[in-house]
Amino acid sequence: MLAMLLRRFALGAITVWIVSVIIFVGVEMLPGDACTAFLEREAKGRILENCREDLGLNRPAIARYSEWAANAVRGDLGVSANGQKQISELVGYRLRNTLLLASGAMLAGIPLALFLGIVAALWRDRPADIIVSTTAIAAMTIPEFVSATLLILIFSVWLGWVPGIVLTSADAPLADFFPEVLLPIGVLTLVMTAHILRTVRSSVIETLASDYSQMALLKGVPYWQIVFRHILPNALLPTINVVALTIAWLLGGVVVIETVFNYPGLGRMMIDSISDRDLPVTQAIALIIASVYVGVNLLADLLTMIANPRLRTMHMRRK
């Protein structure tokens, strides 16, 4: 078990490193650099030279990457393009804000999704299921920017209950984000709930049809006892991975929602830094997002393994 954990961890570190190389090469291959992106049509002559010198863009790409990597290993992510702030500090605030958004959506969304998914499955093809499933499909298929704009129109412009656009600065105390953060959380909850509840629903239905459920039913075990003792524990296992992927998606920054609401999170910063060709910031965010993906998936596999004895023993036997 421990050996497996270590192996997975090492693989994860290698994945993160590969991602950093891919991102670096990718941004290098885009037309132009940080200076031409900044100066636009004025990128000529002396002013361009000055800019490239300031940002150290005159050196070969390999040298810049290895210097960045050496510093990153030591935890130094460099300074921002205008040289004013530490990138770790800038990205830190954005990460915190994205965490706020993600945890809000998870707290509201995961219980809701589990509840609705189980209800829909147990009352399959009845009105409750039809309502829940149709709403879920609608929530999944309507693009986020449409549902976001609709919610802003209804709750902010018409009703005036909550502010529509987030105007709070990235480094403001967390409390300042209320109530502005409520609408983005609402939109995220809508989308992620739909995804998770559909998995929950099909998983519960599948388990309901399994031999052991049928057996228990024929033996005369009370219905609710079957549901709680046999069906739910088995049915919810596969959903752990879906939940993990959703969490990773949330933490990776939800670019569209952050842009529509002007929310100062990781996703928007990533897009901005790519269009600015701001490699240090892009790299820092890529590192964080890759680590989150690797970490959360590792955690999910671990949980599944703990919850499912068969997977554990299978692994032992293979050894």
């Binding site: 802003i152 105007l167 002007n262 100062p264 600015d276 701001d278």
Partner: protein, 492 residues
């Protein structure tokens, strides 16, 4: 009698403004055009205009008609051939840090713009200044390379703002100026806070605090205005204005500007090196159709002249679509069966793709087959513009002399159409030397007419700006951005 009344009421108004205590918070968004490169240095590419316009002053500012009027310079005069200019400065003005403003600061600020090492984008606007000297504490003398009667016009440039002597290395974050508002905190991507400068030379501002908030997405800025979270948005499109019209919660100002969008054909490569082909390309355009379809009517027709509708040197040219003549010109140039061109378009400017499609339709009638080539917005200015033979372009308003010299002169840095015409160059040089206004105007008009005959650039219109505000905003001048008097703005 009417004059006396006007003067008395004007005095009463200014007196009441001077006594009223600044109150309220005015909120406005900016688009964070330069991202993390944003700065308060007025002459850097990353300047955030929506902030610098409120905290810093120029020597000369536009009045409500766009003519030069005193800002930090009270009066100016030139020697006979307009090669030496003397500016008398306003006395008793202080910077936000308490230091007093004087001629040394002007010398420092202007020399900083002219420094070839810095190579500021603003440099080309005043490159004809060869020497800046302080005659005494309140007088500055500018020496020019050659005669130029319209120097004050160029000093109104939105970037030429005065900063304290020696502040060049720190101005990017301190933002110390002499404007009606002073910087409290600067955060381009978040919220920048300003407070009223009680020592402003024209009296204390009407608003106590300003918040300039970075919102990248245009749709989000509109939502913020609709929700009353911001008080003003300058980038309303004709399509969006429907949401503000007819509501008593919002006001819309309609302001003609000199900003233009257009299509550029490189005059140094075939087939565009033939003036007949260029004329045909431009005659094929139905400009009113473009204004209606692309801008929803929110633009003023231009006849390929960059000089805006509010400019005193604008030439009045008539340029209706003429398909017959376009066909005849193409035949004359050796294309009796029409012409096929590749037009490179990005979505960098949202109206470009629509403009290109409308032109494609219109030009087809003259036998010009336009292939629209979609290119990425990223790197457009460096990989496509001035590289490909036919591209889209956009420019912000600049005075006639500057627009013609910076973009069409054969030696210009931004000569996007590679336009080289000795006669045109001569006209511009002559206009600069000419000291008589009417004669000078005639020369600029002639230069624009010359462009209409020969240019490689199709400029169908100048954009009309829609400024949306919440109804609680008062005293906002309905003029070009450059001329707004921010200290007169109030909020209820």
């Amino acid at each position: 009698m009417r004059n006396t009344v006007a003067v008395v009421s004007a005095l009463a108004l200014s007196a009441s403004l001077a006594w009223a205590e600044p109150s309220g918070v005015f909120r406005q968004a900016h688009e964070v055009g330069s991202g993390s490169g944003s700065t308060l240095d007025p002459i850097s590419k990353g300047r955030v205009f929506q902030i610098t316009e409120k905290i810093m002053s120029r020597l000369v500012r536009p009045d409500m008609d766009g003519r030069p009027s005193p800002d930090l310079a009270l009066s100016w005069s030139a020697n006979e051939d307009a090669t030496e200019w003397t500016f008398e400065l306003r006395e008793g003005v202080t910077f936000h840090d308490g230091s007093s403003f004087g001629s040394e600061d002007v010398v420092y600020s202007l020399e900083r713009v002219l420094d070839p090492e810095t190579d500021s984008p603003a440099r080309s606007a005043i490159a004809m200044i060869s020497k800046v000297e302080a005659s005494d504490e309140d007088t500055v003398k500018l020496t020019l390379e050659s005669s130029f009667a319209d120097l004050p016009l160029l000093l109104m440039d939105y970037r030429l703002r005065m900063i304290p002597e020696g502040a060049g290395d720190t101005i990017a974050t301190t933002g110390i100026g002499t404007g009606p508002f002073r910087l409290v905190s600067f955060d381009a991507e978040g919220t920048t806070r300003l407070e009223a400068n009680m020592d402003y030379y024209d009296g204390p501002p009407g608003v106590a605090e300003m918040e300039i908030i970075g919102i990248t997405d245009g749709q989000a800025r509109l939502q913020a205005l609709l929700g009353g979270q911001i008080d003003m948005e300058r980038g309303i499109t004709a399509q969006q204005s429907v949401m503000l019209e007819g509501s008593d919660r919002f006001d819309i100002q309609t302001i003609p500007t000199g900003n233009w969008r257009g299509l550029v054909f490189r005059t140094d490569v075939a087939p565009f090196d033939d003036p007949c082909v260029r004329m045909a390309l431009r005659l094929a355009a139905d400009r009113q159709g473009m204004v209606d379809l692309v801008m929803g009517g929110g633009a003023v027709i231009a006849c390929d002249s960059p000089v805006g509708p509010g400019d005193q040197y604008r030439a009045e040219i008539d340029c209706p679509q003429d398909i017959e003549r376009a066909r005849a010109l193409l035949a004359e140039a050796g294309y009796p069966d029409g012409l096929e061109i590749d037009l490179h378009v990005a979505t960098l400017e949202p109206t470009w793709p629509i403009l290109a499609e409308v032109y494609q339709e219109q030009a087809a009638a003259a036998g010009i087959r336009v292939n629209i080539v979609q290119v990425p917005s990223d790197g457009f200015w460096n990989e496509v513009w001035m590289q490909k033979d036919a591209v889209t372009t956009r420019w912000n308003e600049r005075p006639a002399d500057q627009a013609l010299n910076e973009i069409y002169l054969s030696t210009a840095k931004w000569n996007e159409s590679y336009y080289k015409d000795a006669a045109f160059d001569a006209l511009l040089a002559q206009a600069r030397q000419e000291l008589d206004f009417d004669a000078r105007r005639a020369l600029y008009v002639q230069a624009q007419e010359h462009l209409w005959e020969t240019a490689g650039t199709l400029i169908p219109y100048h954009v009309t700006r829609l400024v949306g505000t919440t109804a609680r905003v008062g005293g906002l001048d309905a003029v070009e951005n450059n001329a707004v008097r921010w200290h007169r703005v109030t909020v209820d």
